[in-house]
Assembly symmetry: C2
Homo-oligomer: 317 residues x 2
């Protein structure tokens, strides 16, 4: 038996056939349309990808245990509906019902960060844990929570948005896309790191960050980390502040969930131990009742490029 | 059948016999000792209160379904151990095992805010809800979370400390007892409100807050609210800021849990609709995905003075 995982993104809709052990036997993708309408539902494109996956993997629908779809935005996973998606403009799309017309097998949809958390639990760095706080540091900050081995989505699947915890109530805190100021996302995303890097570069014209950015052709999430590793004071300041922001949100979530492990995904997680070692120390020292409460492991997520497909596939397990 | 609820506080240990419908048929209390030691466990005093309750209520142990104990601090409710308590200096006290020697019936212990949340669910304003965020605004900020009708305590009962979410990462944020700066507790507790009131009084010598504080003999959690209701600009500023801090933490918790209801307890909740109406509006407008996610009811807790006994008793249900 196989699982089909569909990873919907702003640029492409990826799909893969996944063996029950997490091996991807075939994967493909098509571009995401510029606009979906009442007459042209995103379900049509998802169907296309599923067909391509079944064909390319040389399997039949009878071999498929279920289909899982990971989708950015607010998803009602119980009803199988995209409530709202920001980057691909979608509102109230009953994806699961639309796909059920074509595929008479179990079909699931969930928020992409929730899928990623589940994927790590089932196939990745979260194996063996029952309680996980997963966070992905990318364009935004996505969170997924595993409690007692199960995905926790909040009532009506409308919670688990840890990226929109406010960690700075000040009126001059950065504005977030969600309408609030000072969300964790505005401090701890890769986007935020780039903003912080640029601000430091303006302040420190002699920083090696300028050279690194020039070599890469842009300021990226790697600029400050690269400079810090070369001993650049300004780069170290940026990285230390950035890690303290990551830590702040993680401590908040630890004080609520007390997970066994925190898994960090997204582009920034490529910094590996350079990121996780100081953050682990800071989280375990900063959490409430550090002296008498259980310690928390901090690791990077392990699924990387295939996280989207595998996380979506994990929904169908 | 009856439940016995024990409410351990810094000043007194209260106990009550509670009918299954939540009616307290008898209650009593003894002073909390100044110091407990290896030879003089707090369990001895709790036993005393239980004996007094059984005697006073004219019931026998056979009539008691179970005993519940609400205790401030970090409690391992599964093992029945006080891990650590700050205001009454206690560390690693196996209260349930110690009491089992005297009472051969089910005995439970939990953190006081968790008990309060459970008490509201079973006997109070939380009746009929399955998903509740409970917050008590007192000396500190305590939180209790009900998910799917059950108390959520985090792994090893070491979570649910929402009062120690940092809502201001700045280095100049107020210091919290927990060792962090900028915890929600340092902005939204009654203690914090009094600090904010005093600061405003220094800034506005003409504010009516001075008169109200003089009449009451002190600055209290009521000073600014009283002034605001009289149209005092400075009082309104204090109250508006204070409510925005409460809202900030509540939105953070709503974005994680998406409860059906938020219940606000503690002394500040006496402000009733003056507090809940603007906070309800602000929470529902500020939460992530306000336009498409379910709304949240915001109410005050209803158990008031007996919340401690009833919450503890609810543990034994």
């Amino acid at each position: 038996m196989y699982l089909i995982g569909i990873d919907v993104g702003g640029m492409s809709i990826k799909g893969g056939a996944v063996a029950l052990n997490g091996e991807i036997i075939f994967k493909t993708s098509i571009p995401t349309a510029e606009k979906y309408t009442a007459d042209y539902s995103i379900s049509e494109d998802i169907k296309k990808v599923i067909d391509l996956v079944i064909e390319g993997a040389k399997i039949s629908l009878c071999d498929v245990k279920g289909i899982g779809i990971g989708q950015p935005g607010s998803i009602d996973s119980k009803k199988g509906i995209i409530r709202y998606s920001n980057n691909i403009a979608l509102e109230k799309v009953p994806v699961v019902d639309e796909l059920k017309k074509y595929f008479d097998i179990p079909i699931y949809i969930n928020n992409d960060a929730n899928c990623a958390a589940l994927g790590e639990l089932v196939f990745g760095a979260g194996k063996g844990y029952n309680d996980i706080v997963f966070v992905t540091l990318g364009t935004g900050v996505g969170t997924g929570f595993i409690i007692d081995g199960k995905l926790f989505e909040g009532r009506e699947c409308a919670g688990a948005e840890g990226g929109h915890m406010v960690i700075n109530t000040s009126q001059d805190a950065p504005m977030c896309n969600c309408g609030q100021r000072g969300c964790w996302e505005t401090y701890a995303s890769a986007t935020a790191l780039m903003r912080q890097t640029k601000e430091a570069m303006e302040k420190y014209p002699d920083s090696i960050m300028h050279k690194l950015a020039q070599e890469e052709g842009k300021v990226s999430g790697k600029t400050a980390f690269g400079a810090a590793k070369l001993g650049d004071k300004a780069g170290q300041e940026v990285v230390n502040n950035y890690m303290s922001y990551i830590t702040c949100g993680l401590v908040n979530l630890v004080n609520v969930f007390c997970p066994e492990a925190i898994l960090i995904g997204g582009g920034i997680s490529n910094e590996k131990e350079y990121l996780t070692v100081p953050i682990s120390k800071a989280v375990n020292e900063g959490r409430f009742g550090a002296k008498f409460n259980p310690t928390i492991e901090v690791k990077t997520a392990s699924l990387k490029n295939d996280a989207g497909i595998l996380g979506a596939a994990a929904l169908a397990l």
